[in-house]
Symmetry: C2
Subunit: 195 residues, 2 copies
DNA sequence: GAAAAATTTTAATCTGGATTAAAATAATGC
DNA sequence: GCATTATTTTAATCCAGATTAAAATTTTTC
């Protein structure tokens, strides 16, 4: 309820909590994971979580917000560094997958949106739509600069995003597999874009 | 508890129930959908569902079994009709998407497996693994017959399946969109396989 | 090292939703 | 139409898991 001096410690713990929550939600789903499940991962009691968050719903909400931030950052970076549309797509895929399969684990999944309360749901949906729109814009740029063959950017975007979003469903932390994903997926998912 | 004469009616109702359940689970997740939610779709009371099923867990379980059957059938059909590996993949994609976006709605999602009890979970996981293995075999055949460029079939299979499995997350019954998916996805997802 | 603030736990409550049993209604066979 | 069977509802019960309040413990400050 109070936090002044140790802003850092508090934020650090909260961060751990959000990651633990994201992992649980990924594995068992929102309603499928109890607060005790999340707390166990942290070596805490379920009640302790209320020190960091108002209620369970806020927990998912924050997971999504954070996922949105990470998604935006990786896309920003890919756009900043990409030489052309296709190169930008490939970089985005790699950066995204590095985070998802990295030791910090997947940030969040976009599956529990219906569980959010209306205001939060709308906010997250808008963030999600923005992200998709930006990604589609990258595809369009690629078509214009000639690095990507003409295609339905909406459908192509959905296809690629689907593949990415599904990864947490079958990737469970095995680093060997993780490295393989990072190595293979960008190529596989972008192969269809070329002329 | 009893059923003799009207085997047909009973099966018919059960069928409707499974589809309603699958739709709910897709939209809100397993624990997120109450039996009342499922019953509402059917114009029934939650208690009525117990006439068809022992408990809620059995409901998801049956959804998965059915999804497995449908998946196997579409793959069977694609394999039977496919001229070569690539053609088989494309057919499978089309058949699968036609079912998923068809008026009977998505059959089931592979997201709630952790909610199943161990025996059921193992059974469904094996069905799922079998399906993946068969799909990967199709990819291998395509590589051998020269219709598909050499690739890591495991990763490629996961990438394609992920795209497919994610569709129910963003497709919510709009027939126009459904037709577009059927028209575009097979091409998009198989474009990267060609030489 | 003691007071104050921060963090976590213990021990209740409270609630939605699964489950059950008995009763009510609808369908079917004769 | 009557008796039997099939289907659904009504009205409890039951329980896991969210939430809360007060107490205990740990950390920080000076």
């Amino acid at each position: 309820m109070a936090r002044k001096a140790s802003e850092t410690r508090w934020e650090l713990q909260k961060d751990r909590m959000l990651r633990a929550a994201a992992r649980c939600f990924n594995e068992k789903g929102y309603s499928g994971s109890s607060l005790k499940d999340v707390a166990n991962v942290l070596g805490l009691t379920d009640a302790a979580l209320y020190y960091y968050v108002r209620n369970k719903e806020e927990l998912v909400y924050l997971c999504y917000l954070r996922a949105g931030d990470v998604g935006r950052e990786t896309l920003d970076r890919a756009i900043a560094e990409g030489k052309n549309g296709l190169d930008t797509v490939r970089r985005y895929l790699r950066y995204h997958l590095e985070v998802m399969t990295g030791e910090r684990g997947p940030i969040a999944i976009m599956s529990e949106i219906p569980s959010l309360k209306p205001e939060h749901r709308d906010e997250i949906l808008e963030i999600s739509r923005d992200h998709s729109a930006r990604f589609e814009a990258v595809l369009e740029r690629g078509i214009e600069d000639g690095s990507i063959a003409p295609c339905d950017v909406r459908m192509t975007g959905n296809a690629i995003m689907g593949s990415l979003n599904w990864v947490p469903k079958w990737f469970h932390g095995d680093t060997t597999v993780g490295e393989k994903i990072v190595a293979e997926f960008p190529g596989i998912l972008s192969a269809g874009l070329e002329h």
